[in-house]
């Protein structure tokens, strides 16, 4: 009986030893990989952030498109590559950021000059009431002409920044900005024609003539131009 018990104990010990030997596997090194590598250093609020930029990140052998369905490695944290984002998608582009910065800077100047130009444009329309007609003083006409000239200068300065602002490749124009740009095709030529017609009308009045011919179009062209300008301004200011 005692021999049988000893044999059973030896057998159990042998099997345990065999199982333990088989269960021991070498430790696989786990490295947390993050495909998002910003071009500039990030200002980390959390000092123990899990995101680490590594120069020797693991490169999966499967194509990025198959990664979401592929089993992850032994690490417990997923990475951007696991989600199917390629390194180029996660990589920052400083040149593009600089382009966007320049574009925003120029469009801010465009906006400011455009808003300032709205003041003499509005004043020109108001003073036009006293600039024409039979018995108009030279002072009223001169004031209207001066305001018109100031409006034109500010308008074209604003237009310069809008035209010269860099375009972003691959961007489709959508939304209220489309209407804003379409209006430019009306008030742009209008701001060229209005002062030309205005100078013609001004000279005729100064010569004691009644305004006639194409100079008669100065008023209607100016009104349409001012209307298109106002619509363009409102389209990017308020939500319709």
């Amino acid at each position: 009986m005692r021999m049988i018990q000893l044999r059973i104990a030896a057998l159990i010990g042998f099997c345990l030893f065999a199982l333990l030997s088989a269960a021991q596997t070498p430790d696989t090194p786990t490295s947390s990989q993050d495909a998002q590598k910003p071009a500039a250093a990030q200002d980390q609020k959390a000092p123990d952030s899990q995101d680490k930029t590594q120069s020797g990140s693991q490169k999966p052998s499967t194509p990025p498109g198959d990664l979401p369905n592929a089993p992850s490695s032994s690490k417990t944290e997923p990475s951007l590559e696991d989600l199917g984002f390629s390194a180029s998608q996660a990589q920052g582009d400083l040149k593009r950021q600089a382009l966007l910065d320049k574009r925003t800077h120029m469009l801010k100047i465009h906006q400011r000059l455009g808003l300032i130009a709205a003041i003499p444009i509005t004043a020109s329309v108001i003073t036009s009431l006293n600039a024409g007609g039979k018995n108009t003083s030279t002072a009223s006409r001169d004031l209207h002409a001066a305001l018109g000239g100031l409006a034109g200068d500010l308008y074209f300065a604003s237009a310069y920044y809008a035209i010269r602002a860099p375009r972003v490749p691959g961007t489709e124009t959508r939304g209220p900005i489309r209407f804003h740009k379409i209006m430019a095709w009306i008030h742009g030529p209008g701001m060229i024609a209005t002062p030309i017609l205005g100078i013609m009308a001004f000279n005729q009045k100064n010569n004691g003539e009644k305004v006639h011919g194409v100079a008669l179009a100065h008023g209607p062209v100016a009104i349409v131009t001012a209307g298109a300008f106002a619509a363009a301004l409102l389209s990017v200011s308020v939500k319709f």
Binding site: Q44, L80, L94, T104, G175, K239
Partner: protein, 178 residues
């Protein structure tokens, strides 16, 4: 033969490794909201991707979305958004969180989030999310109370008036086990 049978009987179940499970984001929508006295604006992205890896009862989740994928309906506004959030320099928004595996059976969970956006990292504690189980999928909704100052974003202005600092992000995600 007896030795082999005894060894097989003595194969102890606790020595076998715990089974890992994974979750894949089936579909997701993130919506940011920005307020201005003249404008209320929302930008929506459907290009959210996510994955969760569960091990020993604990799950690590990563959700990521490209900054340029947000669409507010105005291409000019979207470009300005990318510029002010440094989206060309830091093209991805990532959200990391850890949840217990048992959370999938709850109807409401509180999660601690770590969000990387605009080159900054912000922590949000105990954000409440609602869970609805639909077959083998889990539908999660909630709102992250993000602000512009959390990510050091200069508030954009319109007619010299800045937008509000609050920039809540609505989350609508559907997960399925892999």
């Amino acid at each position: 033969m007896r030795t082999l049978a005894a060894c097989l009987l003595l194969a102890v179940p606790p020595l076998a490794p715990a089974a890992d499970s994974q979750w894949i984001l089936q579909q997701g929508t993130l919506t940011y909201h920005v307020s201005h006295p003249l404008h209320q604006s929302e930008g929506v992205s459907h290009e959210v991707r996510g994955k969760g890896i569960c091990h020993a009862g604990q799950c690590d989740f990563l959700i990521a979305v490209p900054v340029k994928s947000f669409d507010s309906g105005d291409s000019n506004r979207d470009l300005h958004m990318i510029q002010v959030t440094r989206g060309a320099q830091f093209p991805m928004v990532t959200v990391r969180t850890k949840l217990p595996e048992s959370a999938s059976t709850s109807t409401t969970i509180q999660a601690d989030l770590e969000i990387q956006f605009a080159g900054q990292t912000a922590q949000y504690k105990q954000i409440s999310f609602q869970l609805v189980t639909q077959g083998n999928q889990i539908h999660i909704t909630g709102t992250i109370p993000a602000t512009l100052t959390d990510f050091k974003i200069d508030p954009p202005t319109l007619l010299t008036l800045p937008v509000k600092n609050e920039m809540p992000v609505r989350v609508d995600l559907t997960w399925r086990p892999q």
